[in-house]
């Protein structure tokens, strides 16, 4: 028997084996819709036994109740016309099991035309697991979208073609795109043209290596302005898919740019800028500081303030720092020492700043060498001018001073003559003689004081500050002024406070000021109509602790509109006057850190007030 006849002989057996061993459920119905076969898989899937369903109408057993009418209609149509829309097509339908439970089924129905009548074979597969997985995936994706769309960052995804093909809502809103716009790399159009090369090349290199990348670039915001974003991309699969997020860093970039400008201007400022830490060490130094001090930046940053000036020591620094913190002593002058050992004077402004508990003493220093030189020159000129003015004043006073000097000399000559006369007697009266000798001595001292006062004012000497008792200084000056006062019948009221603190001043210059003021007072008083001409000199310590010398006359006064002009150079009301006395006096007062002011009442005298601080500021560094 050949194989084929054997196969034919056993065909029905083979058929049954093929049907029963199929993985899919196979249900065969006849023209009437009655089940003629129901394989093992169908038994497992639907829960029916083959013997129970054979000859039963399929529609009532496994078709979902909602679809039974549609099934009947469709089956009727196939029977009549031989055509059906569902035949040979893959369908997905719900089906029911014996216990009434539903499941998702995939189904293909074929028609087999046979002699006794056509049969319909249905291949059914339970796809509920697949459906569940699909559903889970859809849910997971929806969750991701939801998360991504609601996250406060811009998120993108790229596919294995290395193109970004998905953007979250935040990203789309930021740029003002619709999602469909972004496909095919349209998003690159939003990148700033100057940054595009950088963006594409960085991204390409990263993708080739399969590594992460981080980019900062400008992207066009929906309002039309470019914004800076920080874009971090990471590979999410080995096949070249990336996910990334962007953060708007425009504010930070702007702050950074501003900071760069600030840093540049600080680095390149002509002013020496040093930031000092609480221990006195330098935290920052600018270029001008390096240049002025002759160190490199790294050298300076390992140094402390004590290394460049002797004005501060590690011992004195805490107290100085506190004064800066409390803003009590923010402006000062000191000498800085260069790397080569030379020094230069600087004017310092210091500020205090604390950031997160860290202390910064920000100091700005200006080299004032030139200013000091100019000031020194100016001081020399002023001193020279003051000397010239003293000579002129002495010249004016010469006649009365010569007269004043001749008084004691005349007396000395007379006493001496009388003593010789008495000595010629046989019994000279020694008591008388002693009295005259004493008088001679007194007159010599009187003459000596005048000469001394005169000599000091005329002598040219470099200005020196010595500690003086102002009361004594005034006494010395009055010796020289007595003749003029007396001659003009002016009463001098001397109410000098002997308790005055000692002052460190240039005595000659202070004497000059007092001589000037009293001689002005004499001039103002001399021609006044007062019956009693008076000049009052008074000293006191004012509320600020300054020593005050008031010189007041009851002369003709100065009208209010001329008060300040009296201090202008070449301004004079005196015939033959130079108008230099008061300007010089004022500049002397100021160089001692004091001041000279006028307080005048029209027609009833003038008061000049000279104040000198106890602690001398002014020219001293």
């Amino acid at each position: 028997m050949n194989k084929l006849s054997s196969l034919r002989e056993h065909w029905s057996t083979w058929q049954q084996v093929l049907i029963d061993s199929a993985l899919d459920s196979i249900v065969i119905i006849d023209e009437e819709g009655l089940i003629v076969d129901f394989n093992q898989s169908a038994e497992e899937v639907f829960g029916y036994k083959k013997r129970d369903v054979l000859g039963q109408p399929m529609v009532d057993l496994i078709v979902h109740p909602d679809l039974r009418q549609a099934h009947r209609d469709g089956f009727e149509r196939i029977r009549k016309t031989g055509e059906g829309r569902i035949l040979g097509k893959r369908l997905e339908l719900p089906a029911v099991r014996v216990d009434g439970s539903e499941f998702a089924a995939e189904l293909v129905v074929v028609r087999v035309g046979l002699a006794p009548g056509p049969l319909f074979v249905g291949y059914i597969r339970d796809i509920s697991e697949r459906k569940k997985a699909e559903h889970a995936l859809r849910e997971s994706e929806a969750r991701f979208r939801n998360l991504a769309d609601n996250a406060p960052v811009m998120i993108w995804l790229s596919d294995d073609r290395r193109d970004r093909n998905w953007f979250n809502q935040v990203w789309l809103d930021f740029v003002g795109f619709e999602l469909s716009d972004q496909i095919d790399n349209q998003w690159y159009e939003a990148v700033h043209p100057d940054d595009l090369d950088h963006v594409t090349s960085t991204q390409r290199e990263a993708v080739e290596k399969g590594s992460s990348f981080s980019l900062e670039y400008r992207i066009r915001h929906r309002d039309g302005d470019y914004r800076w974003v920080l874009d971090n991309g990471k590979p999410v699969s080995t096949s070249g898919e990336y996910a990334g997020s962007c953060v708007d860093i425009t504010e930070r970039r702007l702050a950074e740019e501003k900071l760069r400008v600030t840093q540049f201007s600080v680095d390149n400022s002509q002013t020496v800028i040093l930031w000092i830490g609480s221990d006195g060490g330098f935290v920052y130094v600018n270029n001008a500081a390096c240049e002025a001090l002759g160190y490199t930046r790294s050298e300076l940053l390992s140094m402390r303030i004590f290394d460049i000036t002797s004005s501060f020591t590690p011992e004195s620094w805490p107290a100085a720092a506190e004064r800066i913190r409390n803003q009590n002593d923010r402006y000062f002058e000191l000498y800085c020492k260069r790397n080569d050992g030379t020094t230069f004077p600087v004017e310092v402004v210091a500020n205090f700043l604390a950031i997160h508990g860290q202390e910064f003493y920000l100091t700005y220093m200006q080299d004032i060498t030139r200013r000091k030189k100019d000031e020194e020159k100016l001081r020399q000129r002023r001193d020279e001018l003051a000397h010239v003015m003293r000579l002129i004043t002495m010249g004016e006073m010469a006649s009365s001073l010569a007269h004043e000097l001749n008084q004691p000399l005349t007396a000395v000559a007379n006493y001496s003559f009388v003593m010789q006369h008495i000595a010629a007697n046989e019994e000279p009266d020694m008591r008388q003689m002693r009295g005259y000798a004493k008088s001679i001595g007194e007159q010599a001292i009187r003459a000596g004081k005048i000469v001394e006062g005169l000599r000091k004012l005329v002598k040219k000497q470099s200005p020196t500050r010595t500690t003086v008792q102002l009361t004594e200084t005034i006494e010395k000056v009055l010796v020289l002024l007595q003749p003029e006062l007396r001659q003009n019948q002016i009463l001098l009221e001397n109410s000098v406070n002997p308790e005055l603190p000692a002052l460190k001043v240039d005595e000659v210059q202070i004497e000059q000021v007092i001589v000037n003021l009293i001689r002005n007072a004499i001039d103002a008083t001399r021609n006044a109509d007062q019956t009693e001409k008076k000049i009052r000199i008074e000293t006191s310590v004012n509320d600020s602790g300054e020593v005050e010398i008031c010189i007041q006359d009851n002369g003709c006064g100065i009208s209010a509109d001329r008060w300040e002009t009296v201090f202008e150079a070449f301004h004079t009301s005196k015939e033959g006057g130079m108008g230099m006395g008061l300007p010089i006096s004022r500049s002397i007062a100021e160089s001692h850190g004091g001041q000279l002011v006028v307080d005048a009442k029209d027609g009833s005298g003038v008061t000049f007030r000279l104040t000198l601080p106890q602690e001398q500021g002014g020219d001293g560094l």
């Binding site: 008084q407 005349t410 000395v412 000559a413 007379n414 003559f417 005259y436 007396r486 019948q489």
Partner: protein, 119 residues
């Protein structure tokens, strides 16, 4: 005959005192004044045989005083500085006025005064 009475007008205490001493030790009586004003109130009823007058006086000065003195025949020694003399030119020509500069030699002073009174 009593010693001649000399009027001394000088504001400086030391100078005035020493002149008084000088005159009293050389045979003169002296009446001394600190100022021209004080002298004038006294001169109404006092006859002086000679005057010693300082130019620089507080208030009325020597020149003003000379103009006030009506009797120009009284011999007067004006003690002055050289620079002051020109202003006295007028007065000099009219009266018996002699000049001495401080500090003067007491011998000269006594000589001038004695000879002026003797004339």
């Amino acid at each position: 005959m009593s010693d001649p009475l000399i009027g001394v007008i000088e504001d400086d205490d030391a100078v005035r005192g020493s002149i008084v001493l000088l005159l009293e030790n050389n045979g003169f009586r002296v009446q001394a004044y600190e100022s021209a004003e004080l002298f004038l109130t006294d001169s109404e009823h006092t006859v002086f045989e000679g005057l010693v007058l300082d130019v620089r006086l507080p208030g009325m000065n020597g020149l003003d005083l000379l103009e006030q003195i009506t009797d120009r025949s009284v011999p007067t020694i004006v003690i002055t500085g050289h620079e002051d003399r020109s202003s006295f030119a007028e007065v000099i020509s009219e009266g018996k006025v002699h000049f001495l500069s401080k500090p003067f030699d007491p011998i000269d002073f006594l000589k001038v005064l004695t000879s002026a009174i003797a004339q």
